[in-house]
């Protein structure tokens, strides 16, 4: 005749339970590719500081098929990061206009415009 509450624990596989959580975990895993990619570039920058030969060998590594496969994956995950990040912005920074909130559409759309512009600038700088 006394209380004995059952204390559940969340299993470590909680994120496999629902597609919604899996999608979240994929979004969080983008950090692995973001981190790895910028780390590789920083190593490249260091190689650059060591002279043309070192830089050349860095470029050589980038051309290795495994490297290309990694970068394709990294590109996919980084783009997923971009899409999810933009999608959340209307909720992190809601904007009011007059008596009403600006709907998510225009806020998200504006980010895609900026994204496209930034990408074009980078590509132009590279190709120019």
């Amino acid at each position: 005749m006394s209380r004995k509450p059952y204390e559940p624990t969340l299993p470590n596989t909680w994120w496999l339970e629902k597609p919604f959580y899996i999608r979240y975990m994929l979004r969080e895993m983008t950090s692995f590719f973001v981190g790895a990619y910028v780390a590789i570039l920083i190593v490249g920058l260091w190689q650059l500081s060591q002279g043309p030969d070192a830089w050349g060998s860095f470029l050589g590594v980038l051309s290795h098929p495994l490297s290309v496969i990694f970068h394709v994956l990294a590109f996919v995950f980084a783009t997923f990061h971009t899409v999810t990040w933009f999608a959340l912005t209307p909720r992190t920074t809601p904007i009011m206009r007059g008596d009403h909130f600006v709907p998510p559409g225009p806020i998200i759309g504006a980010q895609y415009v900026i994204w496209a512009a930034a990408s074009i600038v980078v590509l132009a700088a590279v190709l120019w």
Binding site: P5, Y6, W15, Y21, R91, T92, T93, F101
Partner: protein, 253 residues
């Protein structure tokens, strides 16, 4: 009552006086097109087993008592229609206590932790000086009301706590509903207590534990948008922290 199809209601039951862990028990329940899961539970309690234990009251999705896991999703059982879970009135619906809380008995959770967290965020108007009643009401423009109105709609049903993995992983986390209510008061044009609340909301148990899974907002039956409320507070608290560290004397308050 001419319709005679029945379905299986599988309830995760826990009797603290005889069980160590919850176990499933199945009941065969007559299907009624207009019924919600709560009606089915009441049918079982009235006709099969009076010891089946769950909370409920208003049956109109506003008192917040009857939150539970239905087919592993946190929902208000008074708004979970059988027809949305069954095909031709047949099949199985599973029901369990809300996740991430201790279970007192059957579908009843222990919610002490939430009550403490709610109180901790000081969910009331804080003012340096009270306005006398004789002076009438405050002026609050519709746009000022609109800014926080959706965050006032929380019915404390705790579906968001059941959906949030961070609550499950870190029981100290103040959690979605309480943080949304803190934000609601912070945004209220009549309030002056934001700084006091930040001691709690910007603590290590506060907004920083959130990783923006945003399951809280997904399951919220009242569109309170706790996930957004927490992110806004992260941004504001970060700016606040930076200013505290950049401007000498600011922190002294």
């Amino acid at each position: 009552m001419s319709d005679t199809t029945t379905f299986t209601l599988e309830v995760l039951r826990y009797n603290p006086e005889s069980d160590d862990v919850p176990h499933a028990e199945s009941f065969s329940v007559p299907y009624q097109e207009d019924w919600v899961v709560l009606d089915a539970l009441n049918w079982v309690k009235d006709n099969v087993d009076g010891s089946l234990t769950f909370r409920w009251s208003c049956h109109m999705a506003v008192c917040g008592s009857c939150g539970m896991m239905v087919n592993n999703e946190p929902v208000l059982s008074c708004k979970a229609f059988l027809r949305d879970y069954l095909k031709d009135g047949k099949g199985t619906i599973t029901v369990g206590a809300l996740k991430n809380f201790p279970v007192e008995k059957d579908l009843v959770i222990v919610m002490d932790s939430f009550m403490e967290k709610l109180e901790a965020v000081k969910p009331w108007i804080i003012r340096t000086t009270e306005k006398p009643v004789e002076e009438g009401t405050f002026i609050q423009l519709p746009k000022q009301l609109k800014r926080f109105k959706h965050h006032t709609s929380c019915i404390n049903c705790l579906l968001c706590y059941a959906a949030c993995p961070q609550v499950g992983l870190n029981p100290g986390f103040i959690g979605p509903a309480a943080l949304a209510l803190a934000h609601r008061y912070n945004l209220d044009s009549r309030d002056q207590g934001k700084d006091l609340r930040k001691d709690v909301t910007a603590s290590e148990y506060g907004v920083w534990e959130c990783t923006f899974v945003s399951a809280c907002s997904e399951v919220c039956p009242k569109d309170v948008e706790p996930a957004g409320a927490i992110q806004e507070q992260k941004i504001e608290s970060s700016i606040d922290w930076a200013l505290d560290h950049l401007i000498p004397g600011r922190k002294a308050r």
